[in-house]
Symmetry: C2
Subunit: 196 residues, 2 copies
């Protein structure tokens, strides 16, 4: 089995280097990217949405030009194990999901996916072997159209940049007069003084 | 100037390969990662938070083991151009931010960062040259402590996986009886039938 431009073994090496470890979700994610790309018109400019932040975004970042930081990959968490590749101008695309109903013959994948066993009892090699044998069989697809906010032309014009009167840092004026960090949405419960 | 383990030129090549293009935010982000790592105890296991999803997460993913998909990198958007490296067990760490107040002598960085000129009038090479000359000078740092929810031990135990009675897909029972996708949080306005 190949994953994107890689042999399975090459893909595993890339996963180790980027993701840090071989996780079942990275194997699933690699196959899902393959299914999506095989169902898109050749040469199409696509954006990607992952419905879970676990593993799937890293498979997309390894195998496509889409990254979180360049904006072509977005995470819209629905807790479902799915990803969508869509034409960034029309919003039409294909959604690929791991289908629990197709896991009858794949007990190791099922034990991982449905959390039937605690992690330390799961057999990573057996899960990988099942994915290699199952390939696209355990995934379903859907034609979808994304909401207008995800379509290219719909991108809002950026507002101007202003300094927050509270913390003094620059932020987008679209968001109000005080930055979201100072309005309680900061991830910190303690910050020391700013350096001079 | 070096960026992490790379010469500046090597870093630029890595940016092109991963991010797709050389963006000022990728240069800023690379320097910010360097500042953070130079201010952390050697060998510390850290997690990262980016306060903006633009470019910064890609600099972190290129230069550290932290990725979106492995969970060691999170985006908590405050619209400020900042990133935080923190000890994943204690929550203590360092925040690095691009400081608008230090841009007096760096007009090209300022024009980009404060959106003083439209993008097509910005001079990418001049911005990069200014970043190479300015280095850490245009950034500030803060000691911070992250909120408890971002500290390792505080991680919630995962709930069980159930099938959504509406779409039939697997999702975390922590989130209710119906999956968030079916409760209106899906990114789609149209989906075709599921494949058989």
């Amino acid at each position: 089995m190949n994953i994107g431009p890689y042999t399975f073994e090459e893909y595993i090496d890339r996963v180790k280097a980027f993701h840090g470890s071989i996780a079942p979700g990275m194997i699933a994610g690699g196959i899902m990217v393959d299914i999506a790309q095989n169902n898109l018109p050749e040469g199409e400019l696509f954006d990607v949405i992952c419905e879970s932040g676990h593993c799937l975004p890293d498979a997309v970042q390894l195998l496509t030009p889409c990254t979180i930081g360049n904006g072509w990959l977005k995470i819209v968490s629905t807790s479902r194990y799915a990803m969508t590749f869509y034409n960034k101008y029309t919003g039409d695309g294909i959604r690929v999901y791991l289908d629990a109903k197709r896991l009858g013959g794949w007990p190791e994948i099922r034990a991982w996916f449905m959390r039937e066993k605690p992690k330390h009892e799961q057999d990573l090699n057996a899960i990988i072997d099942e994915f290699k044998n199952a390939g696209p069989q355990v995934f379903g697809t859907q034609q979808i159209h994304v909401k207008q906010e995800f379509v290219q032309g719909a991108k809002k014009k950026h507002g101007s940049i202003i300094l927050c009167p509270s913390c003094g840092e620059a932020f987008s004026s679209d968001l109000g007069e005080v930055c979201p960090g100072c309005l309680g949405n900061s991830p910190y419960d303690r910050t020391d003084k700013y350096t001079a």
